[in-house]
Subunit: 243 residues, 2 copies
DNA sequence: TGTTCATTGTGACGTATTTCACAACATCGT
DNA sequence: ACGATGTTGTGAAATACGTCACAATGAACA
């Protein structure tokens, strides 16, 4: 397993991640500490499913349901029950035989695993039409995320206020991130500026980037990237269309 | 392989597809017709990578490059060269030993595989803020896609013109789709209306749905769905953040 | 307290996907 | 015409991921 060569397990790079499986240095002394937050080598596919579990559990909570079996959850989500059980088993034992899972408890647990039991401040780079739409989007707050600052390199946009935040010049990005200890960034710049923006985010200490620009970003191993790419999504679906 | 039970191969359902591997009825008479468009059982992961290849090839074309090796392409994209060669080999042989691939030819070929050598008309459902942003998005046209009609169930919005198209009432959706032979739909409705909208799209003959609503849609096997879900993307990245 | 029932958590197995590694071959310079 | 070079396409091996199937066990109720 050549450490460098395939640092970024393929699939990830494209469909999104480019993350570090943050599990190096495990030769300390093989302590069996199999705690909940044992994150040694949990497949990224599993991690990507967890938010869906959380979302579905929330919806059950809204409906007042207190307990759920892997089977029921599976049906709601459209996966197999075995998969849900296996996924959860990576982190510990949260169910009760014969009873299923306590909805509230499981929801809290998975949120804690994903570190959603806090608010993450984000910087948004690129305040064109897309940036404006993102800045005005109401869905982040409801989910542990908050846009803390807006940036654009166009001096004409700087100063404009969007959804309560002034647009700041790009040159302030790194400093702002450091000062406010921000680890999450959103890139909504034109394609050609995306990589340089990513570099700035990295300089500012970013650890997670949500990338709306249609480019594969090169980032260090400790930075996770997920692509939001509607065009690619469409382009891959047409393959299956039978006319 | 229980046909019904796991119609929707898990991963797909969540990370996007819910498609038909459109390859039933292959007991005709095992003709070896291994043509390019041989689509028997090509993994969806591969299909999802093809748009990235196309995009990267286009960028090479813009730079005037005429030939590219799998190695170079791999570096640009951030995958391994072997993977690119394997992916392409599902469809045929497009390279020349010692030389690599002809950029223009490969680009055209992959586009043809993805059926991007035509324009796909789409319907957009849900004309709230998000719907407006999508309707005004300039990136589709440049990529074989065109929004042909807008729909919303809110009578107050009906009639409003967005980017040259009037918003029509939902009740016209099915008829419009059939009349104009539209097979691609975008859902940008609130979460609670997403499933009913999907049902209408299916009734209208949809075969591909780009879903911006945070719900897992239930659709028949012949319909492919891809989710655009920035919140889930963020929620899965925080897992990796080390503070 | 024992029996029934439902449902978990997980070894063992199976399938899907990626990577290795190399024979085959096209091109070029001589 | 030939050897050197670079790069493809692909069997075979390796790894990653998903599913089966069942022993273990908690709850309910007799």
């Amino acid at each position: 397993m050549p450490a460098i060569a395939r640092t970024t397990p393929i699939e990830r790079q494209i469909e999104s991640v480019s993350s570090a499986t943050p599990s190096y240095g495990v030769d300390m002394d093989l302590d069996d500490e199999e705690d909940e937050l044992n994150n040694l080598n949990i497949p990224d596919v599993v991690i990507r499913r967890l938010p869906i579990y959380v979302r579905t559990l929330h919806s059950l909570i809204e409906h007042g349901q207190v307990s759920v079996s892997s089977e029921e959850l599976a049906t709601l989500i459209g996966v197999t029950a075995a998969q849900i059980r296996r996924d959860l088993s990576y982190f510990g034992k949260f169910g009760k035989q014969g009873r299923g899972y306590d909805v509230g408890y499981l929801s809290n647990t998975v949120e804690r695993i994903l570190k959603l039991d806090r608010t993450w401040n984000m910087v948004l780079c690129g305040m064109g039409k897309l940036g404006h739409a993102i800045a005005n989007y109401r869905g982040f707050m409801r989910s542990s995320f908050e846009i803390a600052a807006l940036f654009d390199s166009d001096e004409n946009l700087v100063g404009e206020e969007v959804n309560g935040h002034p647009i700041r010049p790009m040159r302030d990005l790194v400093e702002t991130m450091r000062r406010e200890h921000i680890q999450v960034g959103i890139i909504a710049t034109p394609r050609k500026n995306a990589q340089e923006t990513a570099d700035l985010l990295v300089a500012g200490g970013v650890q997670a980037i949500l990338n709306y620009a249609p480019v594969i970003l090169k980032v260090p191993d400790h930075v996770t990237v997920r692509e939001i790419d509607p065009v690619s999504a469409l382009q891959s679906m047409t393959y299956y269309i039978e006319d």
